[in-house]
Symmetry: C2
Subunit: 312 residues, 2 copies
């Protein structure tokens, strides 16, 4: 049996404009890395967390990585001793699936350590348990793409039914994270509980268009379909200068631009890295000019998802 593994789980963009709670995609980077050490004495211990500015709990039963591991071990009826080191590569509360990435990295690592008793899809419920425990809602639109990679459709939550679509190499994602905090709970609480049937119909036309655009590599269609008339208009209010950022991204060739997950990160899809770099520069300018701290990421779409490997 392996003793020491490390695992990486990528950041994810959930919703991807019109697909609230059902679409998500994985980035190449940033992501979270976890090192797992098998120990003789039972229990889960988080030894160190890097990159969180001391904000995350080290108690395993309060940390998303620890909760996911415990849920997985309970399922396997195992009582292992595990020490963890968590390297946060992605910002907290950024709308990039930070808690999901930690949980996914931990699960991927443990599954690898155990010689892969479960498939990636079978690991999803344990990460959802962790999301549920931390935020009160277990949404698969970050967890599933972080594990599986690619562009993911969460067709159904009950029963869980997740479909992965591979994405072409020339599709790039620009993400800008303005350094302000939006609590996921608030971003959910401001959503309407009811929508007009007419608006729902417009939204599902766009959803169908996004899927057909991706599968037929029809980026014009993808671009025309990246419209969210239900969630984006409400959540945009929580993100300073959202519309300026979006407008500037589209003005230099982004296929589409919207809020990543519940924000505050804003993402844009672009054809080719060259376009993505120009778009990123324009998006960043909006916040720089207004002295708002921000991080910019430019990444291909990660078709592999989370990975694990032996170390030492």
């Amino acid at each position: 049996m392996l003793k020491r593994v490390k695992a990486f789980a990528p950041a994810t963009v959930a919703n991807v404009s019109c697909g609230f709670d059902i679409f998500g995609l994985a980035l190449e980077h940033p992501g979270d890395e976890i090192v797992l050490n098998l120990k003789d004495e039972p229990g889960i211990r988080i030894n160190r967390i890097y990159g969180d500015n001391g904000k995350l709990p080290k108690e395993a039963d309060k940390n998303t990585a620890g909760i996911a591991i415990m849920s997985f071990m309970k399922y396997l009826q195992l009582e292992l001793g595990l020490e963890m080191e968590l390297h946060k590569g992605l910002p907290l509360s950024s709308g990039l699936g930070s808690s999901a990435a930690s949980a996914v990295a931990a699960l991927k690592g443990l599954n690898f350590l155990l010689n892969e008793p479960l498939s990636n899809k079978e690991l999803i419920p344990f990460a959802l348990d962790a999301e549920q425990a931390i935020s009160g809602t277990g949404h698969a639109d970050n967890v599933a793409p972080s594990l599986l990679g690619g562009f993911v459709i969460v067709r159904s939550y009950d029963p869980l039914d997740v479909v992965k679509l591979n994405v072409l190499d020339d599709l790039y994602c620009v993400v800008i994270h303005p350094d302000i905090e939006i609590m996921t709970k608030i971003a959910r609480d401001i959503l309407p509980t009811q929508v007009n049937l007419k608006d729902a119909v417009r939204q599902w036309g766009n959803i169908a268009g996004v899927v057909a655009g991706l599968l037929n590599n029809d980026y014009d269609l993808l671009s025309r379909s990246m419209n969210d008339i239900i969630v984006e208009p409400v959540r945009a209010e929580l993100i300073p200068y959202f519309y300026e950022v979006k407008k500037s991204a589209l003005s230099v060739g982004a296929l589409g631009c919207s809020i990543s997950g519940s924000g505050p990160s804003i993402f844009a899809l672009c054809k080719t890295r060259t376009v993505a770099e120009i778009v990123g520069k324009k998006m960043k300018e909006i916040y720089e000019e207004r002295n708002i701290k921000n991080q910019l990421y430019i990444s291909g779409i990660n078709n592999k998802g989370a990975i694990a490997e032996q170390i030492e």
Copy 2:
């Protein structure tokens, strides 16, 4: 210039379960046929209508075929003399796009007669004008598949944006038309104007699943996705024995079963003709046992759409 053409436009299944107002597919048969004769004296005349039991108006400005032709000629700034013969192959008010098929056949015929100045997609608005005039709403989910064939996504109505997906040869559609009448207007009036966001999310998961299932030829996914939780439950009340028919279709292997358009026809998608024939037999039994007159159609999906040819 040609003098005499005939055109055929197929019946269509709109909504295709979860895709209210955005999905439609074309059948190989039944369909409407129109013969157009170019005449010297201007004006549109409908000489004969077969197969409508005398129910359709012969005045060109009241008949969907005539209205569509007039809208097209107005656009072209033409004043032709045309005599038409309409052969109704599909039942009226059946939920199979009867009025759309007549309009589409007329447009396809005239476009052919004029040496195809417009593409099929460009003909859509004239058929919508006719639908609007006849029923008060111009929905493209019958018109577009009848013209283009295949499985059609109406991504957007304003501007009109229609995407055609080709469907594999092994997909068959069973349609049963119980001989009762449901006015499209009533079927629309009973719809809710608002839906729960939660239900909308479930619906768009299924919509994404239908598109991915069709494009990846993943019929299991297509089958799991053919769930309409918003419109079908309301309209099913208007169709006698709907749930019995659906249950019997699914019990013998239909991939999915729902209401065709606004009903009363019920359709089922099946993999292979053999399954479709078994499914059709079971569906028909429900109505036969209850002495309800009905027509059964078993057809492949029509990837060609409307066709026109010269005659004589």
